[in-house]
Structure formats: structure tokens, C-alpha cells
């Protein structure tokens, strides 16, 4: 079927994919030292992967980009030390925005008009998740950072197990309808 191509029909789906690319590029650049003045060469080298992710938001490239960004974050912290809390929170939200916008883009074929209600609902839900996450992230960052502490590792492991258990319970729960 040839879809009607009216100007502005696909503006939303294209904008969502541009946002995916922008979040992806930012996720690659933010963990780097001196990211506030990134060199043009670096940006050019970093650009192809976010573009691929924007074009194929339903592919495994999203996970690859997230993994690379996290690896950058960990490696940088090994050399430069732990980043400020504000930057950590911003980076965490950036990663989630990349994940959520890619999920949203994957659900929308690019040749579809998007109803305003659908967009508003997605944005409101995203803001709610970010608001709750901000509070929990501040709590997590307030925990003492003591590498090698067996007690802290055990407590952290129990917490991680709890989170994984929560997700598994939610996945195995009887569905709504």
C-alpha cells in the first residue's frame, strides 16, 4: 500500500529517531574525560553508531551502544576517579532516555502518523519514571563507597538479587487480561 505522504505526517517518528541518535551520541561522549569540549574528530568517530541505532531501534545495536557507554564510564572512572554525583545522575538518566526512546521508536513504524495522545502519554510516563529514579539514585549514591569491603559487597549482592527477583516476579506474574 502506498501511504499518503503529506508534509508533517512523519515528523514525530523522525523526531523520535533524531532524539535516539542525539541521546546515543551524548551517551558515548559524556563518559569521556573533558566531554564538555569534545573534539570534532571524536564526534565524527562516535557518530556512526548512534545513527545506526536511530535507523534500527529494534536491533541489538541499542544494547551494544549502552554497553560501550557503560564500559567508557567504568574505564574513565578507573583513571580519573569517581565522577561527581550530579554527573552520575545525569548519565544514568541519559542511558535510560536512550533505552526508552529506542523502545518507543521501535514500536512506531517510521511511515506512521503519531497521535498526540500517544506522544503525551509516553512523555508523561517517562517523566514519572525519571522523577522516582532521581530520588532512588540520590539514595544509592549516598551509600559509602568502600571497595573490598565484604559486608558492603554482601549487602549489595543481596540488593541486586532482590531487584532481579522483583523483575522475575513481575515477568512471571499472571497477566492483566
Amino acid at each position: 500500500m502506498k501511504l499518503p505522504a503529506r508534509s508533517g505526517d512523519f515528523a514525530v517518528t523522525v523526531a523520535v529517531r533524531l532524539m535516539v541518535a542525539a541521546f546515543g551520541l551524548a551517551a558515548l561522549l559524556v563518559p569521556l574525560p573533558g566531554f564538555t569540549t569534545p573534539s570534532a574528530v571524536l564526534a565524527v568517530f562516535a557518530l556512526p553508531l548512534p545513527i545506526v541505532v536511530a535507523l534500527r531501534p529494534d536491533s541489538g545495536w541499542v544494547a551494544a551502544l549502552l554497553s560501550i557507554a557503560v564500559a567508557e564510564w567504568v574505564i574513565t572512572s578507573l583513571f580519573e576517579g569517581t565522577s561527581p554525583a550530579a554527573l552520575t545522575v545525569a548519565f544514568g538518566i541519559l542511558l535510560y532516555l536512550l533505552h526508552a526512546s529506542a523502545s518507543f521508536a521501535a514500536a512506531l513504524p517510521v511511515t506512521r502518523r503519531v497521535e498526540p495522545g500517544l506522544l503525551i502519554h509516553a512523555v508523561v510516563r517517562l517523566l514519572a519514571v525519571i522523577a522516582v529514579s532521581l530520588l532512588l539514585m540520590v539514595l544509592a549514591l549516598s551509600a559509602p563507597s568502600r571497595p573490598g569491603s565484604i559486608g558492603l559487597a554482601a549487602a549489595g549482592s543481596v540488593g541486586a538479587m532482590g531487584v532481579v527477583t522483583l523483575l522475575v516476579v513481575l515477568l512471571r506474574r499472571r497477566p492483566a487480561d
Partner: protein, 435 residues
Amino acid sequence: MSETSPWQPTRALHRAVALPGFLLVIAALFGRPDLAALAVPFVVGTAVALLRRPVRPPMVRMTLPATVLAEGQSMEAAVFLETAATPAVIAVQIQADRWLGVVATQGSRATRLRAGDRARLPVTVTALRWGQHALGPVSARAAACDGLFGCRVQVALPQGVTVLPAGEPFTAVDAVPRAAGTVGIHRSWRPGEGGEMAGVRRFSSGDRLRRIDWRVTLRSGEMFVTDTRSERDTDVVIVLDALHEAGDSGGLAGDASSLDTAVRAAAALSSHYLAAGDRVGLVEYGARLRYLPRVAGRAQMRRALGWLAAVAVVPEGVDATVRLLGPGVRPPTALLVVLPPLVDARTTQILATLAQRARSVVAVDTLPSGARPDGAGEWSGLAWRLWWLQRAVVIDRLREVGVPVVRWQGTGSLDLVLHDVSRMATAGALPGRAR
């Protein structure tokens, strides 16, 4: 999610579980609260999304107000979407035959349905060309739980839409070779009650007094009456050559292929002769043979249009011959209007054979003037011109054996040749002529 559920986890769900799980383990093992903080939005977002998981896919169905359209006609179909207890993002796609113009005024959208919602998406379907076309299937792609689950619903199996050919306005002179019925509007060569004067003759018993020609009677001193020709109906058999389709079809608004011209001309001819009270039959010959028996009346027009919508060039099948055509082109007195593109020697042979059997045949050339063979080489232009010359020779030879060939030009296309065919039929009917 059970294996039978149409909702399947997406890559987004995999990464939404794997990434925070990995971050939390590393954070716990190496005492890195910052990594735990990075995992928090993923955990919160996934937990919120999974609170309401779907089981049943959205219901999607399509309804058509009609399954028969005329060329150029439009109808408004509707696609209905319905969710169960879970909100879902749904993107609808409607597939359709090339010759059904589908404009989904709102159907090409992504929409969000709340739990239990129903949505009606109007879809305008325009018939661009005659034929039997398929509308559908309608497929819907749905996502739930913020894209963590997805399903593709394939619904509404293709529905058949028959598009009747649009007959051009057509009229022809009131000349048919052998008016043979009992009543009708065509003047026959047989004497009888009618409005067409044939001459005067001597009065004989049974003649009506009002037919006495008093002038001749007074002048000659004998009783003379005015003689008239009877008015009768006739049989018209329209033969469509479906051996080949020459030229590209652009639908009703575009260029016409040879088959387009043949089908639309057949519709126009049928309409004209059926309106005149004649019996009209149709024959399709190609790799398959189809007949529509000769019947008069308005119902036959509906049957003829439906029959014409099914005309198609079939790649392989029987070999068309006059012998196979036989049952369809009876009776021998019928006017045969053959609609060929004249690109196949078999058609030429059939036309010549029919003419040699003293049948009243008219050939209407349906080859589009702009038709060109596929592919082009250094000698294509020259070969094409030679082929046209050869074709012109074939047409001249057909005329020599008594098959008038005309191009289809709508109203009046057949006037000249119908006079010729009528004259030839009359000459053939004279005593002493071979039949």
C-alpha cells in the same frame, strides 16, 4: 510469557533486564554505588511497565460496504481495532492490490488504545482498474509495556473486490447483417410489419386495406400495396482476444493496454446491443476459453460486466482454435465482433477462417498506438517499423478475405464497417451464392 502467547519479549526487555542486572552485580562486587545508581532508572522503568502485561492481542477486523465497484468508483471501508484490558500502541498496515487505491485517512497512523477501547479507522478504497482484486490482509503491529512486549497481528484475510469495467458511451448505426429474431428494432431483409419501406407489390389475400397504395393503384388500374421490411432483433457475439496484453495499463485515468481497450469496448458494445433488445454473448479466448451464453435483457448486462471483470491473460492452457471457439460463436447468423490486438498469427487465422465460413465478422484493433516491445537495442527501431509494416499487410489481407478491421474510437467506431458487413451478408444471402 507463555509460548503460545502472541506477545513476545522484545530486545528492549532483554536489555532492560540484562543491563541493570549486570550493573548491580558489578556495583555490589566492587563497591561502586555510582554503577548501582545507573541501574536505578532501568529497574524503575521496567517495574512500572511490567505492572500490566497483556495476553490477548488486539482485535483487528475490516468491513467493506460493497464487494463490487465500477471503475473509478470509491467506497469507504473501515478497520476496527479493539484492545482487551491492556493499553497498547498499534500501527495498522493495509495491503491491497495495485489497482485498488487505498487511502487510509486515519488508518496509517500509530494510535494508543486504552484498556477496552475500540477505534474505527476509515479507509477510502478507489477502484483504479477493472478486474478481480484483493483488499487486505490488514496487519497490525502492537507494542505494550513501553515497548517491552510486541506482537504482530495478521487479521482480516484478503477480501475480493470485483471492479466492473467502465463502458464508454457507444452508439452504432442500425445496421446488422442478419436480423434474425421475431421482434426487435433492426430492419431485416424479410418482408413484414415495420416502418422501413421495401417497395410496392400487387395486392394479395390477407393484405391489410390500409396498406393499399392508392396512387399506384389508380395509375395502373390494379390493386397495389406498400411493402415493408420486418423489424427484428439479432445475435451479437463479442469475442475478446486474451492471448496477449499489449501495452502498459495505467488504470482508468492512465494509458489503456490492449486488454483494457478490449474489455471496455466489450462493455460498451454489450450495453448498446442489449439496450436495443438484442441477444449478446461473450467469448474469451486465450490460454483458456470462457463463454457467456447469448441472452437478451437487463440482467444480461450485469452478468456481462461481472464476466468481463474476470477476463485475464492466462500464461498456459489450451491452444485457441476456431474449432474450440465453435460453441461460443453460434448461431451462424450472429454478428461477431472480435477485439484483438492483432499481434498473434493464431488470431489472424481464426478471423480469416470465420470469414471464409461466411460469418459476419468485424475486427476491432485494440493495440495501443504507443505500445512498444520490451527491451531496446541497436536495431529495435528498425525492427519495430518492419513489424508495423508487416502488421499492416496482415490487416490488408484480412480485409481482402472479408474481415473489416477498425480501431476502437468509441461512438461510431463500427458504423462504416457495419454497413459493409450488412451489404456482404445480403450479397451472400442472394440465391446462387455459396454459403
